[in-house]
Symmetry: C2
Subunit: 326 residues, 2 copies
């Protein structure tokens, strides 16, 4: 019996991760190449293709029955409709990159090559391999350097008119509030991302002049959400309040999404979710407080079931299975 697998590629700012993933979401083999800083897309596609081909070869040497069905790519500012990466601020490639066409030239026999953004890939990964297997309507929020989201309605990812739907990190949480990386003010991402939590920690230390906090000996640049978590576990008041406040903000944003889409569940993914109840509990309480009575008590907030280390490539690989359903 042959064993079907797909390739998942995660294009990050400095590193591109590649994996061969089986139908259950197990990573059979993985590799990394640099995402170039030189902006030479042709060279990068050649390097990436060679790395993918070598990786396919390596798994087939172990098991000659493995058949690779397609390549799924997760990339910042990835546009599913056009197979393009468009004006990604953290990549060295300028303008619009026709990623899927370029990759198809290197894999003329590969039937399925598709691309989407990283948060959408995470949502599809959750649907194909993870906790959303039996759900037709759910939402994925990814908390990290930014806040991304992927929305699923009637079993399909929402791409919208131009392929860029699901930018819930850029909904307005506090009118006129903190500056957001996108140039606007008060967006959810400025509060609920890992850097948002750092801003909150310093905001609280400033307000309380909290020189006794465990976080008070860290520079603004070095303070991470992991450090805030470690301090919260040890009972640090500032750190505990950061989680309380982040949950309040996130819950408000999730309620807005629930009022749009009436999902069965909201999945949370990313570094800050490792804090468990510290973040889930206040988020749930705040979401409930903001919901209409018809939604209260109905919407689950769940941790992603994808393995954090592999989620990006696993999510990207899931895109191929989703394509095959069509």
């Amino acid at each position: 019996m042959n064993r079907k697998a797909t390739v998942g590629v995660d294009v990050g700012g400095t590193n591109t991760a590649i994996g061969i993933v089986d139908a259950l979401g197990n990573v059979l083999a993985k590799d990394n190449i640099d995402t170039p800083s030189h902006g030479d897309i042709a060279q990068y596609i050649t390097d990436l293709s060679n790395a993918i081909k070598a990786l396919i070869k390596s798994v087939q040497l172990v098991n000659s029955e493995i058949v690779v069905l397609g390549i799924g790519v997760g990339a910042p500012n990835g546009n599913y409709y056009n197979g393009t990466i468009e004006y990604a601020p953290n990549l060295s490639f300028r303008g619009i990159v026709h990623f899927v066409s370029l990759l198809k030239e290197k894999f003329p026999d590969m039937e399925y090559v598709a691309l989407t953004n990283d948060a959408n890939a995470a949502a599809i990964g959750e649907m194909i391999y993870g906790g959303a297997k039996d759900m037709k309507n759910f939402v994925m929020y990814t908390l990290g350097t930014g806040v991304g989201s992927g929305l699923v309605v009637n079993g399909d990812l929402v791409y919208g008119a131009d392929g860029f739907a699901g930018e819930c990190g850029h909904t307005t949480l506090i009118p006129g509030g903190r500056s957001c990386g996108c140039g606007a003010k008060g967006h959810l991402e400025a509060y609920c991302s890992a850097p948002g939590m750092r801003r909150t920690a310093f905001e609280i230390m400033v307000r309380d002049n909290a020189t006794d906090s465990m976080l008070a000996d860290k520079s603004f640049k070095e303070l991470s959400s992991k450090m805030i978590y470690d301090a919260a576990v040890k009972g640090d008041k500032v750190a505990l309040e950061v989680f309380e406040q982040t949950g309040k903000w996130l819950g408000q944003g999730l309620a807005d999404t629930v009022h749009h889409l009436s999902p069965e569940a909201v999945f949370l993914f990313g570094g800050p979710t490792a804090a468990g109840d510290y973040i889930f509990k206040p988020t749930k309480e705040s979401m409930e407080a903001h919901l209409l009575p018809i939604f209260k008590g109905k919407i689950k907030i769940l941790p992603s079931q994808l393995n954090p280390g592999d989620a990006a490539i696993v999510g990207a690989s899931a895109l191929v299975w989703k394509e095959m359903e069509k």
Copy 2:
């Protein structure tokens, strides 16, 4: 050649409107009955069915070739999946009313009987007969006593996991802000509905002690959005600021919806939209200011193309055509 038509029923708090609508959205005949205050659903369904039957008869007397294909119902708290009206605060029927089943008992030969809430019906009406005929992804906001919304993704209305999706009027605009009818604080509906505009007018008069405003001789109870519009046309400063401010708020809310769904257009429907540029211009400016660069300049804000007088029954009737597509 026979002429196909559908029945649209709009269940309002005190009045139920019924219309026979042709495939182009023309109302061939219409009638009204009281929505009862006595809560007797069996009697109401009997009265409604008799009125529908009489109306069908009347159009068939004029043109014997008219064939009625189904009945579409728009109702507050209408649940499409269950065909129910659930805990509608402004209706006298308590709890969950199995409206579609009850109506089908009276029309055993009618293949299509379906129900949704009024804002969803307006969105479907726009898609079948109105300005969204060629759109697969758009959003409808209805501004009136409340703010409703209907969301269309890939050509289908979004109902979500439980049938109640599209409650954008209850997204949070101002954290901790004005009390909303639903019990929460700061929801968009408390700012952008007609009563929200009244609150804004008085808020401005209070701030400026504006006894010279044309709105200053109206009681809090009697001031309507139409009066605010009439005063704005005459150059009243308070009234003009109400529209500016309402547009700012509405644009912020629309941007949140755009960031979720990436629609091709947002349609606005309802009394306050009659003010044209007074409301559309600041709304557009504010939406643009809140959008990510990838969305800027792309999203149209359009007035609904449905005739305001008939939109509720026309929208409800469109539900039948949508059902027939399935």
